[in-house]
C-alpha cells in the first residue's frame, strides 16, 4: 500500500484528479459523460503510440521516427487498399498497416544493430525518410475518399450518450484496441524475458549483455512492436478524422514522448510503466481540454502544458538529488 502511494503513477493520478476537480468547479460542464468520452477518444491514438515509445524509453533509447511510421503505414495502406477497390472495414486496414509497421521497425533495428548506432541518431533520419517516402511515392495530398466500411467509423460508440451541447456522442469502440494493446504491453513488460530485458538494457546495457540478454534480438522486437503500434495509431487516427494524411502527426513526436515521460518513464532508461503512460497522455488531454473549458486562450494553453512538463520532469530529478544528498547522511540509515 505504501509502495502504491509512493509510486510516480499515483502522484500523476492524484494531480489528474485535482486538475479535473478544479476545472470542474470553475465550469461544471466539464463534469459530463460526453467530456469524459471525448477526452478518452482524443487520448487513444496517443496512448497506443505512447506504449511503443514507452518500450523504447525503458530500454534507454529515444526514437522520434514513430510518427512518420504512423503516417507512412496508414497512408500507404489507405492508398493501396483504395487502389484495389477495397470496401470493407478497419480490420484489413489494421492488418496491412501492422505488416508495414513491423517491416519499418525491423529495418530500423537492422540499421541500428548492424552499425551499432544509438536509436536516436537513426531515428532523426528515419523520420524524415518516411515522410519523404509518403510525399514522393504515395501522394502529396490528404485523401478524403473512404471505403464504405470506414464511413461513420468516427461515431461508432460502445456507450452512447446524449449531450445538450455536443449532440449524440459516446465511448468510441477503438477503446477496445487500446485495452487489448495496453494489457498486452503490460504483460510483455512484466512477464517476458523480452520485457525484463528492456528494463535491464535501460539499467545497464553492458551488464544486460553479460547477463545473457540477447540485446540485438530485443532491439528487433522492440522496434518492430513500436512500428506496429504506430501503424495502428495511424489507421485509427485516419478513421477518426475521415481522411488519410501523408504528414500525419508531423511535429507531434515530442508531445508523445513528453506524455510518456510525465507518466514516469525515465528518458535515461530503466523506468516506466503502462499505467503511467496512459495517465500521462490523459493528463495532457485533460489539461488541453480543461483550459478550453476555463476559457484560456490557445496561446496560453501551450505555455501551461509546457510548464507542467517541466515540473513533471523535475520531480524525478529532485527525488534523485535528494537521494544523492542522502548519500552524505549514511548515519541516518544505521539508526
Amino acid at each position: 500500500m505504501k509502495k502504491l502511494l509512493n509510486s510516480h503513477e499515483f502522484v500523476v493520478f492524484l494531480i489528474l484528479m485535482i486538475i479535473s476537480i478544479v476545472i470542474g468547479f470553475r465550469n461544471p460542464l466539464f463534469f459530463s459523460a460526453s467530456t469524459l468520452f471525448d477526452i478518452v477518444r482524443g487520448s487513444i491514438v496517443y496512448c497506443i503510440m505512447g506504449l511503443g515509445v514507452l518500450m523504447v524509453l525503458i530500454s534507454g533509447n529515444v526514437d522520434i521516427s514513430f510518427v512518420a511510421i504512423a503516417a507512412m503505414t496508414s497512408y500507404s495502406t489507405h492508398m493501396l487498399l483504395l487502389g484495389l477497390g477495397y470496401n470493407g472495414g478497419i480490420g484489413l486496414y489494421l492488418v496491412v498497416s501492422i505488416v508495414f509497421g513491423l517491416l519499418a521497425g525491423l529495418l530500423m533495428a537492422f540499421i541500428v544493430n548492424q552499425f551499432d548506432l544509438p536509436i536516436f541518431y537513426v531515428s532523426l533520419g528515419y523520420q524524415t525518410l518516411w515522410y519523404g517516402f509518403n510525399l514522393f511515392f504515395i501522394g502529396r495530398a490528404m485523401n478524403f475518399n473512404l471505403p464504405e466500411g470506414l464511413v461513420g467509423y468516427y461515431s461508432r460508440f460502445l456507450i452512447k450518450v446524449k449531450d445538450p451541447v455536443a449532440g449524440e456522442t459516446g465511448l468510441h469502440v477503438s477503446v477496445v484496441y487500446l485495452l487489448i494493446i495496453a494489457i498486452f504491453v503490460w504483460w510483455l513488460l512484466k512477464y517476458t524475458t523480452f520485457g525484463r530485458g528492456l528494463y535491464a538494457m535501460g539499467g545497464n546495457r553492458e551488464v544486460a549483455i553479460r547477463a545473457g540478454f540477447n540485446v540485438k534480438r530485443i532491439t528487433y522486437l522492440m522496434l518492430a512492436l513500436s512500428g506496429a503500434l504506430a501503424a495502428v495509431a495511424g489507421v485509427i487516427q485516419g478513421a477518426y478524422s475521415r481522411s488519410f494524411n501523408p504528414v500525419l502527426f508531423m511535429g507531434q513526436d515530442l508531445d508523445v514522448i513528453a506524455a510518456v515521460v510525465i507518466g514516469g518513464a525515465a528518458i535515461t532508461g530503466g523506468r516506466g510503466s503502462v499505467v503511467g503512460t496512459i495517465l500521462g497522455v490523459l493528463l495532457i488531454q485533460v489539461l488541453n481540454r480543461g483550459l478550453i473549458f476555463l476559457g484560456v486562450s490557445a496561446e496560453w494553453q501551450k505555455m501551461v502544458v509546457g510548464l507542467v512538463l517541466i515540473i513533471f520532469i523535475s520531480i524525478p530529478a529532485i527525488a534523485e538529488q535528494r537521494q544523492g544528498r542522502l548519500k552524505y547522511f549514511p548515519m541516518g540509515k544505521e539508526k
Binding site: Y191, R196, A200, G202, G203, E206, A211, F213, M331, K333
Partner: protein, 499 residues
C-alpha cells in the same frame, strides 16, 4: 580437499604486439582461496578475462574439472562453474534485489516468460546460500555497496559456481564490511567453493588467502603459501624493488598560529561540535568508519555541504565557507576519492589534464587560452612532481599508474592551495604508486602546505600523518599522535568505533 579445479599452463597473450601475459601457469584446488596480486598492468585482469572466456589466449592450455580447453567462451566458462564478480558487481541498479539475483536463471534456461514466483524463490535460495538477509523488493541501486556485493555473490552461487573470481572486492567496503566478506568467503571455502581473490591490498590478501600468486609485467613471479609470506616480501615481488615505509622524515609543524582552526562545527545529523586545529607543514589524518561523518566534515570545509553552526578560522581570521567558491577563494583544495580513480581524461594530453582546474587563469581577457602558457605551466608541474614522460603533449593514458595519480594530484595542486583535503587518495591504487603518493603528501607538507588526509587505511595514516583524529557518530572521539601510537591500537579503536 586437494582436488584440482582449474589449471592453466603456459598461457601467453599479446595485444597488438604488446605482451600482456608471458608463459603463466598455476592451479586452483577445490575449496582453496587463492590471492592474486600485482600492480596495474601486471596482467591480472587479462588472466581473469581469459579464465572467464572473454579473451582467447594466444598460447597455452586451460584445464577445468579435468576438461582440456585451448580457449574458453563465456558460456563454457559459466557452465564449468566459473563466476566473475567484477568491481561494478554487474547489477541492474533500477531493478529489485529479487530480479537481480533470480533473472539469470530464467535467461540461462532460455525461457521467454518470467515466472515471478520462481524468481523470488531462487533469489531467496541464493541469499540463503550466502547466509544474508536483504529485502527482496528493495531497489538494488539504493542499497549500500556491501549489500550489492552480497547480491552479486548470491547470484554467482545460484549459477552453481565452483570458482568465484573477485576483482578488487574490498575497494568500496569499510573495515567492518570487509570482515563480513571474509566470513562469507570462509563459509564458501568450507563448502568446497574456490575463490580467486584479486586485490591491491596486500594485508587483506594475506589474511584471507591460502596461497598467493604475484604477477609482475605479465609474468608469474611468485606462487607460495600465504603463511610463509610477509607483506614486505610481497611488496618486493610485486614492484621488483624494496619500498621503504619505515623511515618517515615527516616535517615538524610550525609553532605559528594554526593555519586552520575549526570550532564547534556542526551539521546535523552528520557531525556535531567538531573542533580541531591544523598547522602549516602538518598532515592531519581523519579516520573513522563509513558513516562516521568524516567525508561530510571534509565537504563542509570545502563548502559543498555548508555547516549549520560553528566557526572556521584561517590564519587567525574568521571566514565563512558557504559555497565551494568560498573555499577556493580561501585557497582550500579538495581531492575527492573518485577523482583519483576517474579524474583523468585519458585520451587527452597530459598538459590538458594538468591545467583543467586553472583554465580560467590561463585564459586571456578574451577567453582565449594561449598554448604557450598552457605548456609552460604543465611542464612546470611535470618537473615539480617528477612525472615521467617524454612530453607533456602525450596522452595521459601513456603514463604508468603511479604517474597518472601524480597528474591527478598536480591538477589540484596547480590551484596552489594552502590547505589540501585529500579523501582516500590511494583507494584502489597499487603499492608502488601508493608509496609515491605518500611521499608526495609528505613533501607538500614540508613545503608549507597544511594537509587533511581522510582515510581508513591505517598503515597509510601511520606513514603520512603527524596526528590522527578518530571520528565516531559525527564526533571526534580521540586524537592520536603518530609517535605515541601504533597500527594495532589504531585498528582496535577504529573497529571498536562501530559498537
Amino acid at each position: 580437499m586437494n582436488e584440482e579445479l582449474l589449471r592453466v599452463e603456459h598461457i601467453s597473450k599479446y595485444f597488438a604486439g604488446v605482451r600482456a601475459l608471458d608463459d603463466v601457469s598455476f592451479n586452483i584446488n577445490r575449496g582453496e582461496v587463492r590471492g592474486l596480486v600485482g600492480e596495474n598492468g601486471s596482467g591480472k585482469s587479462t588472466m581473469i578475462k581469459i579464465i572467464a572466456g572473454v579473451y582467447e589466449p594466444d598460447k597455452g592450455d586451460i584445464y577445468i574439472n579435468g576438461n582440456h580447453y585451448k580457449r574458453l567462451t563465456p558460456i563454457i566458462s559459466i557452465r564449468e562453474g566459473i563466476q566473475v564478480i567484477y568491481q561494478d558487481f554487474s547489477l541492474f541498479p533500477n531493478l529489485t534485489v529479487a530480479e537481480n539475483i533470480g533473472i539469470n536463471r530464467v535467461i540461462s534456461k532460455g525461457g521467454r516468460v518470467v515466472n515471478w514466483k520462481e524468481v523470488y524463490e531462487s533469489a531467496k535460495e541464493g541469499l540463503s546460500r550466502v547466509g544474508a538477509d536483504i529485502p527482496l523488493d528493495a531497489i538494488t541501486g539504493e542499497l549500500p555497496t556491501a549489500d550489492r556485493q552480497i547480491i552479486a555473490i548470491a547470484r554467482a552461487l545460484l549459477e552453481d559456481a565452483r570458482l568465484i573470481i573477485m576483482d578488487e572486492p574490498t575497494t568500496a567496503l569499510t573495515q567492518l564490511e570487509i570482515q563480513h566478506l571474509f566470513k562469507t568467503i570462509n563459509d564458501l571455502k568450507k563448502r568446497g567453493i574456490s575463490i580467486l581473490f584479486v586485490s591491491h591490498k596486500l594485508n587483506e590478501v594475506k589474511e584471507i588467502s591460502d596461497s598467493i600468486l604475484i604477477f609482475r609485467d605479465g609474468k608469474k613471479v611468485l606462487d607460495q603459501e600465504a603463511e610463509e609470506l610477509d607483506i614486505k616480501t610481497m611488496e618486493y615481488y610485486m614492484t621488483g624493488r624494496q619500498i621503504d615505509t619505515s623511515s618517515i622524515a615527516y616535517s615538524e609543524p610550525e609553532e605559528a598560529p594554526p593555519l586552520l582552526k575549526v570550532e564547534n562545527l556542526t551539521l546535523r545529523p552528520c557531525f556535531s561540535n567538531v573542533s580541531f586545529e591544523l598547522k602549516s607543514r602538518e598532515v592531519l589524518g581523519i579516520t573513522g568508519l563509513l558513516g562516521s561523518g568524516r567525508t561530510e566534515l571534509a565537504l563542509s570545509l570545502f563548502g559543498e555541504l555548508p555547516a549549520e553552526s560553528g566557526e572556521i578560522w584561517l590564519e587567525g581570521k574568521k571566514v565563512f565557507i558557504k559555497r565551494v567558491q568560498d573555499a577556493m577563494e580561501q585557497e582550500i583544495g579538495y581531492v575527492p576519492e573518485d577523482r583519483i580513480k576517474e579524474g583523468l581524461f585519458l585520451e587527452q594530453s597530459i598538459s590538458n589534464n594538468l591545467v583543467v582546474t586553472i583554465i580560467d587563469w590561463l585564459a586571456s581577457k578574451m577567453g582565449i587560452i594561449r598554448n604557450q602558457t598552457k605548456l609552460k605551466t604543465a611542464e612546470e608541474w611535470v618537473s615539480k612532481l617528477e612525472i615521467k614522460t617524454p612530453s607533456v603533449e602525450n596522452p595521459a593514458n601513456s603514463l604508468s599508474g603511479g604517474n597518472q595519480q601524480r597528474v591527478v594530484l598536480a591538477k589540484w595542486l596547480a590551484g596552489n592551495p594552502k590547505i589540501l583535503i585529500l579523501n582516500g587518495p590511494t583507494v584502489g591504487v597499487d603499492v608502488g604508486s601508493k608509496a609515491a603518493i605518500h611521499e608526495l603528501i609528505r613533501n607538500l607538507a614540508k613545503q608549507g602546505m597544511g594537509i587533511i588526509l581522510i582515510s581508513d587505511d591505517i598503515p597509510e595514516l601511520m606513514q603520512t600523518c603527524n596526528r590522527i583524529l578518530l571520528m565516531r557518530d559525527g564526533r571526534i572521539v580521540k586524537e592520536f599522535r603518530r609517535e605515541e601510537t601504533n597500527e594495532e591500537e589504531l585498528h582496535r579503536h577504529l573497529v571498536a568505533a562501530k559498537n
